[in-house]
């Protein structure tokens, strides 16, 4: 059976799986962003906590994904829950790192003049520092999204949603005529998601970055 035949026969089901996959990626990236930016904001000004944040999230990324998903079955069981938790963990490092880098690269003279005008700490953070760090933070989120799209396929080991399910099913009955097209079509779906997400980030970057700091 050719890939095209497979796609035409299984199109609707594949589209469903792709949307599921996209959904879990978006949820995970969203949660990872909230936690990662918060961690970055909380730690960028002090050396010790900054090292801890980067060290811990760095370790997350080195845990083999198969092992991490497996480890999470114990406390969290099967399904979408452990899948999202694992994916959020994988997305944290690039977001925390870029948030810290971005905030630390804001020209101190700008922060000093904001402070010198009587701008209080939170207003300064939200009006000045985060907007100026935003292009770098956004790049971190984009890297996190790309990592998560790939690793999300492995979420099928904990019975998570997405295209990974098809890959695991096909691998389980390798040798049958539809196995190869099934794997290939799942991979195609993942690539399509990665491309869509990348394009979306280009658009988001344009829409959310001030003209004054765009390259």
């Amino acid at each position: 059976m050719s890939l095209l035949d497979y796609l035409s026969a299984q199109g609707d089901r594949l589209l469903g799986l792709t949307l599921e996959h996209l959904g879990i990626v978006l949820i995970s990236v969203g949660i990872s962003t909230v936690i990662g930016v918060a961690l970055g904001v909380a730690t960028y000004r002090t050396e010790g906590p900054r090292r801890v944040a980067l060290g811990v999230t760095g370790i997350f990324l080195t845990i083999p994904s198969f092992a991490l998903f497996g480890l999470l079955i114990g406390p969290l069981g099967l399904g979408g829950g452990p899948a999202v938790v694992a994916l959020v963990m994988y997305g944290l490092l690039p977001i925390v790192r870029n948030t810290i880098t971005g905030l630390r690269s804001v020209d101190p003279a700008i922060v000093e003049s904001a402070q010198g005008m009587g701008m209080a700490r939170y207003r300064r953070l939200f009006r000045i520092e985060l907007p100026l760090a935003w292009p770098i933070i956004l790049t971190g989120i984009r890297v996190a999204a790309v990592i998560i799209v790939g690793i999300a396929a492995i979420a099928a080991v904990v019975n998570g949603p997405g295209l990974g399910k098809d890959i695991f099913r096909a691998l389980a009955r390798f040798g049958t005529p539809t196995a190869v097209p099934q794997v290939l079509s799942a991979i195609l779906g993942i690539i399509a998601i990665a491309i869509v997400i990348d394009l979306a980030f280009v658009a988001i970057a344009r829409l959310t970055t001030s003209k004054g700091i765009r390259a």
Binding site: D107, A109, I110, E112, S113, A114, Q115, G116, M117, G118, M119, A120, R123, I128, P131, L132, S210, K211, G212, I213
Partner: protein
């Protein structure tokens, strides 16, 4: 903000009392027991070598850093303990790097403090345009631009507009023109001095450049390490009577020359050079020359305008009419020229002498090195006398008050 309980008219706008800052881990204070009064409407320049604590002093005044000890008064109120953000909105702050927010338009930058103060948008828009015009940036052109589209000089102007936005009584300017090329800097300095004529703010201006200090300051505080005041006085008096070797060194070998920028030809006594009419006889001219100790005579025409310079040698050795002998008049200066300009002309002249003429070109007198030197001595003596008289006055007032 609490309003001052009707400050006495003699209250300084800013008073620093034993202000001290020791940074953690440093043996010597960056600012040590600084006492200073700054009168309303004056530009006081803090000038001193790099690292002497000027920036630290400024940051203490708007409480970007907290003093180790000492007190700060603004318009008679002690502000050492008030909410620093509220305090800062009463103090405009301009730094060398300007620190405009690059992601905001010039209008939004200038509107920063008014927005924090909750002004309505219409009032803010009007204020932004007013300020842009005030600092010489065409509002329609510049309000929507981003900082990256402005030149260094324009950014500095926008920075000044932003600092003025809520009309603070006090401005702190830390080397505001330090990063700007000399020609633009000169223009910005002049513009700022003109602006100050209208706004009459109390300004503390920091520089490490003594020439800028002399130009900008109504009063200079020459600081040495630890922000200790070596001398606090008008530029004239600091140049004429440096308090000690540190000040003399800091104002440099060119101090006398700088002082010459502060006085004008009309203020000095001109010297006696022999003059004669261009129509007189050679013998009369020679007699005039012999009666003086100079080597040349200035011949004047019928309207008493300088006509020729002739030397004794030329008179004795050359034939021909006096009106063609010697040199044409040179180094002509008017009474409102500065002594520095006059000296410059003198140096280029053959006899080391500048000739002063009035607006109609009529001879007023001559100016030579002896004149300039005497003028410098005079200024120095005056300045010393005045400092002494003032010290006595303060002393007397202190005793009367006791």
């Amino acid at each position: 903000m609490t309003t001052a309980p009707a400050a006495a008219p003699t209250d300084p706008m800013i008073r620093l009392e034993r202000l001290t800052k020791t940074f953690p881990g440093q043996a010597r204070p960056a600012v040590e027991a600084l006492d200073m009064d700054i009168a309303a409407g004056e530009i006081v320049v803090l000038v001193g070598p790099s690292g002497c604590g000027k920036t630290t002093t400024m940051r203490l005044i708007n409480r970007l850093i907290e003093p180790t000890s000492g007190r700060i008064f603004l318009e008679g109120d002690e502000v050492t303990k008030v909410n620093p953000d509220q305090l800062r909105r009463r103090i405009g702050y301009v730094i060398q790097q300007v620190g405009l927010f690059p992601h905001q338009t010039i209008a939004d930058n200038i509107a920063t403090v008014p927005r924090m103060l909750g002004w309505d948008e219409q009032r803010i828009r009007a204020r932004v345009d007013e300020l842009l015009a005030l600092v010489g940036l065409e509002p329609a052109t510049y309000r929507g631009r981003y900082p990256k589209h402005l030149s260094g000089g324009q950014r500095q102007r926008a920075g000044v507009a932003r600092a003025l936005s809520a009309d603070p009584p006090v401005m702190l300017m830390d080397e505001p023109f330090g990063a700007i090329d000399p020609i633009t800097r000169d223009r910005l300095q002049n513009e700022f001095l003109r602006l100050q004529e209208t706004i009459r703010k109390t300004i503390i201006f920091v520089t490490h450049d003594i020439d800028e200090a002399i130009k900008m300051g109504d009063r200079l505080a020459i600081l040495r390490e630890g922000s200790k005041i070596a001398q606090y006085d008008t530029p004239e008096r600091i140049l004429s009577a440096p308090a000690d070797d540190f000040v003399a060194d800091f104002i440099g070998a060119g101090a006398s020359l700088k002082r010459l920028n502060l006085s004008r030809v009309r203020d000095v006594e001109l010297s006696d050079w022999p003059v004669a009419s261009v129509d007189s006889s050679r013998a009369e001219v020679l007699a005039a020359l012999r009666a003086s100790d100079k080597g040349a005579v200035l011949l004047l025409d019928a309207e008493r305008r300088p006509a020729r310079w002739v030397s004794g040698r030329e008179l004795q050795r050359e034939d021909g009419p006096l009106s063609e002998m010697g040199l044409p008049p040179e180094a002509l200066v008017q009474p409102n020229a500065t002594l520095s300009d006059a000296l410059n002309e003198m140096l280029k002249s053959r006899y080391g002498c500048a000739t002063v003429i009035d607006g109609a070109g009529v001879y007023q007198g001559n100016l030579d090195f002896a004149t300039v030197s005497a003028a410098i001595q005079e200024m120095r003596r005056d300045a010393r006398d005045r400092s002494r008289a003032e010290a006595d006055e303060v002393h007397a007032a202190g005793e009367a008050g006791a």
